[in-house]
Symmetry: C2
DNA sequence: CTGAAAGCGCTTACAG
DNA sequence: CTGAAAGCGCTTACAG
């Protein structure tokens, strides 16, 4: 591979001047500029990124940490991010934590070892106290998941509201025995969503049945399992609010297989509004999360933070969430 | 950030020795090794990747070029790749060509500018003659899409066979007026699949109706459009072989909306065997593509090629394809 | 408008 | 087992 030195030698100019041409500096004699250009062309010269990185202390690379790329929700999120990153001249490193704390921590090391200029956390497996130390190495923002204790910019949807409107919708449809499969655990996002569920229940004077609460699951298979657990109950719920459309789809599919009619015997609300929600039969009533907007906004913010080097500060940005009614309720 | 020099200063040793400790070289006095280790710990030292890259001429990064990350097919492929890459200590750069030749070419530049050690092409927008020049900068392999004229390792499925068994299945079900939406154009993969379609038709003594051929489309919306174009025909086909499950899903959804019964009025065969195929109603008869196997094998091969620096050579590897029969036929 | 020199932070022969 | 020195390929003050 040709280096800047060889280009300099070929043109009889200094490496400095060649570098200036490469970087479009002003104050280069137009003739010499042209000379350098053709020499680069002839030698097939291309700047070595590693050298530029070392010298310039930036990588033009951003890592995005997700927890499961096969989840279409993340697919759409990453798609939007990749688009903005490409426009702005950044590479995207895809980091899949697979819901494991350790993998997430390892990915955070990328910032420390200067392999990326910034990190977008679209999933959050660790607590803020473990993530915080990394912020001194570069910008970290979260998108989708969040942690109120965290001092970092966040692009989030109003999950409490989402939990509320989904539940309220079921209540309005006359349901009282409502199961909840969004998870109630350590993750703030799911906790907030659960708060919304509880608020709607309380407002309607309904009590939350502990047996109807299922931990946070992710895929179709989980949905199937949840259906069977409900089906085995003596006192079955008449409706379920699932943590994602895939889970909802699993519930619906299995319900149909066991001749449990949706929505008559079991109403189902999903979350995300993935394409899937509109495709299966009956269509899934769900909460629309603006995945594209989230991804776009997060990447724009990240690039801005990298370029302006901490001069810009962002806070929590709240994005809208809305109920999409289909045939499953 | 602490550097190797600072660690050296703190321990009274040379940077060379510190480097040896970092890289687990033998022949370092155990006591000194320990000394260095604690000094690194105390300083929060971490090696700078850019420097290592420049010095070592490798990046431990691999790019994968896909054409549409929101397609679950690519989601699963990338998922399998990421897993192997992480195990082997490589980062994955996600490159989305969005079906555009230019974007793909830009992504190939990553190899030239030493930003990645190798590239996996899971999508192929350009011709081999345009890609070939990049092979001198590092290993390039294809996975999924392919080009027989190309002199690169390829992990491919037997598309001709896939086209054949899908079509044969429809013929066995008694169909004669069979539409084909897999594309017939410049891409070899789709051309081969189309060959399989034609072979099955020919064997059964059926003629291919030009009006029933639709260019290669990708998403649900495309499926809906195709349905309407068929629906508007005087002499409608009774079956369609779609290029992907998403397209098939779009066809089916719209068919149901217009009271066209599947499979009675219109039988539908998809491709890929995505989770979706099993979820919608009726389930989609489809051709299973071993996405996980493809991704795993491709990444293993890539890492092997990078590590053994062209000493290893691979050829085309053919992976099995099989018909999954569900209710849509 | 141009160039010599220093340095980004490592690793690797080489010599001991 | 250890260290001094060179060099990976750039860019950026600095001086002219």
């Amino acid at each position: 591979m040709a280096t800047i030195k060889e280009v300099a030698a070929k043109t009889g100019l200094s490496p400095t001047t060649v570098s200036r041409v490469i970087n479009n500096h002003p104050y280069v004699d137009p003739k010499k500029r042209k000379l350098v250009m053709t020499a680069m062309e002839e030698l097939g010269y291309v700047p070595n990124s590693s050298a530029r990185r070392l010298r310039g202390q930036r990588t033009n690379t951003i890592a995005v940490i997700i927890s499961r790329i096969v989840n279409p929700f993340f697919g759409h999120l990453v798609d939007a991010m990749e688009k903005i990153a490409a426009e702005r001249g950044y590479q995207l490193i895809l980091c899949d934590s697979r819901l494991e704390k350790d993998r997430e921590m390892q990915h955070l090391e990328l910032l420390k070892t200067k392999q990326v200029d910034g990190i977008i956390l679209a999933s959050l497996q660790n607590r803020w106290k473990d993530i915080e130390p990394y912020t001194r190495y570069g910008p970290i923002i979260s998108c989708n998941e969040y942690d109120s204790a965290a001092d970092m910019p966040m692009i989030v949807c109003d999950q409490e509201y989402g939990g509320y409107i989904g539940t309220k919708h079921l209540i309005d449809r006359g349901h009282e025995k409502i199961a909840y499969a969004g998870g109630t655990d350590r993750i703030e996002l799911t906790r907030d969503r659960f708060s919304g569920f509880k608020r709607a229940m309380a407002e309607a004077g309904l009590t939350v049945n502990e047996d109807y609460l299922f931990p946070s699951f992710y895929g179709i298979e989980d949905g199937k399992n949840i259906f069977h657990r409900m089906y085995a109950m003596e006192n079955r719920p008449t409706a379920i609010f699932a943590g994602g459309d895939e889970v909802a789809a699993g519930v619906i599919q299995e319900a149909k297989r066991f001749h449990c009619r949706v929505p008559d015997d079991l109403a189902v609300v999903g979350f995300d509004n993935q394409p899937l929600a509109d495709l299966i039969d009956p269509g899934i009533t769900t909460i629309d999360q603006p995945m594209k907007l989230m991804g776009t906004r997060a990447m724009e913010m990240m690039v801005d933070m990298i370029r302006h080097n901490r001069d810009v500060t962002y806070k929590k940005e709240l994005l809208p969430l809305q109920l999409i009614v289909r045939e499953s309720t």
